[in-house]
Symmetry: D5
Subunit: 92 residues, 10 copies
């Protein structure tokens, strides 16, 4: 099932830069694993913002929540989730 | 270039149902042509709303505006456009 | 899977009262069938508003959208959908 | 009487992790007691967010406020409360 | 139990003035009966707007919804309801 | 003259608990004096939030501002003020 | 006492132009009388909008509401009222 | 002086198409005259919306309001105006 | 030219009280000088908030920005600026 | 291609003034280079705010994001991006 997920990262002021770099590296690794697994189907950068629009393909809400809430940057994110149904005009 | 486009259709009250069905059929035909051409890359229904989240792949803003503003249902739509850049963690 | 759905009904001005009563009766019948089937698990009235907060239990987004968009009053509704995951402190 | 309560937890930056873990454990214990007592009737996780949608069944506003304001995580929460009346189409 | 209720009346354009005057007269009669019964404890006009801030004293959400939804002007109202608990500093 | 005042208290993170308890005690004393004087006519707790809805009865805006801005918790408050006129349907 | 009043006029679609011109002429006459009386102390046009920012000097909320609600264009207005107290740095 | 003006056109439902085409043609003529005069310095289409972002160069607010409020489509517009000062990093 | 300026002061938590008192004193001095010069034409306190509604009379946007951005409390302010044109019904 | 970019700078409380002055100087240098290159086509100050409205002329979203996200003050900015298409009434 598909979910459109909009994530905005709010880097806390005074955050230890090195720690944040480590978190970002971990985030990248997790994101790439999930993309290779097909779970994280699309990952785009919102131009001009520290945010992304993604599409996840997972079995259910619990799995989605598990993936998102375990992202290293989750504690610094504002997240909105939009369930995507099949559009009657979609050809794929 | 990719654009995330969120379209919400507001069916005007008192609209002639037959005319609206014709418009919807035209909209579907246009949408399917654009998908086949690769311009309208993704088209998903927002579950529970007469709205969609789409991703367009076009050359520039003018082309995007031309496509969107000529959609049969455009006069009844609220549209937001988000330019999508390449995400540093994206694997594709 | 559970979805929290908030529906607000906007009765169009100048709507034929008899037609709207018929629609409401149809809506009630559909809602009660869906509750009996277990799909529409909870249906509560927001006190003071022509709105409800409901919980649906369906297999996926497509099924949810199918049910909601076929409700007789759907054309007059503002709808928000929130996917509900299992809470780690929930005992049921 | 039923109340729909939407709680979003904002974990303060620089919060002592151990203290927060203790608070979370206390919160879980309180939440589970209240569920066993029937006061906290439903507790669902908003997929993708550190938030929940709950339904409380208590005698009056004072009791609701007493329960919510004594939750260990209350100081870190944004809370909205919606009183739920009986829906004319509800079958239970 | 006390509820703070904020009602804004949106007079539909093209409404038959005489019909609306009748509705307003009925609304006034109902409001004054409810005040005399103690249910509608406070009724204040928001200065500069066709809106009021009221406090209702009723037994439960169902009674509140029954009263509000049967007001003659209810179909033309935006209503927000805030449950009021006892304040620890209140002297009455 | 009557003013409806909605006060939300935002307890700053890292605030010295003892200092805040003192401030709260001072706030309570001031609030109770003002209630006894008739200036602070109504004080209700918004169920589920560290907020109150109050009605003040003072001579003018300056007096209102003087009272509110000298409340011990004022620096931690979001405040909205709504001037209340006499409602044509009010019986008192 | 001073009130800052922001009025936005929403001209209903399909309004009889002549009727609206009459209303506007009446509005102008009332506004100019009130200015001459000192009640309507300032009247400025919000550049680019059919709206104004005004300052009224009246004795109390009831008088303000009476003046505003009897303006010929009141039924077509969105109005916000902000009570103005004396500023400690004001020299007049 | 420069003003950034964001104009969104809301085509009223049921508007006579021919009348609206005439208005649009008049609007275009006015807009092009003003551009040639240097008053309307920039005019860009917001991609995906019946809206534009413009920059006007006029002597004062009155002149701006005069120009905007006399645009043929002004009655159908939502307009926001942002005064633009010289940026300390601007090189022109 | 006239500008309506709404300034809300957000006192940062943990701010050195003495430093803030000095800033406030400097702000008052600047404000009073500007009022005596006629630039800061009106200065009113929003009743109940640490905010003011002011009217500035300056030659252009640059001068306005220069004055506002050099206010001692500017770094702690949320500011909105509304250009005021002459109202056709204004008598002064 | 043109993008309208609205940037609001939020200076974090407790920021080392000297470091922020360095960042601002770097920002100015980068901004002036980009203006000279034609990429940053317009840069205006929003009067009364620590914000700017700019127009960028770059080849695609990736280039825009690259430029914006590498601005020294980017971490302290709220940014909105609006793609600008050619307006049918534009004469240039």
């Amino acid at each position: 099932m598909l979910y459109c997920v909009h994530m905005t990262v709010n880097v806390p002021q005074g955050m230890d830069p090195e720690r944040f770099e480590r978190l970002k590296a971990e985030e990248k690794a997790v994101a790439q694993d999930l993309q290779r697994s097909g779970k994280w189907r699309h990952l785009w950068r919102v131009a001009g913002q520290y945010a992304n629009i993604s599409v996840f393909d997972v079995d259910n809400h619990d799995e989605l929540h598990g993936l998102l809430s375990s992202l290293p940057l989750f504690p610094f994110m504002d997240v909105t989730v939009t369930p995507l149904a099949r559009h009657p005009s979609a050809i794929d």
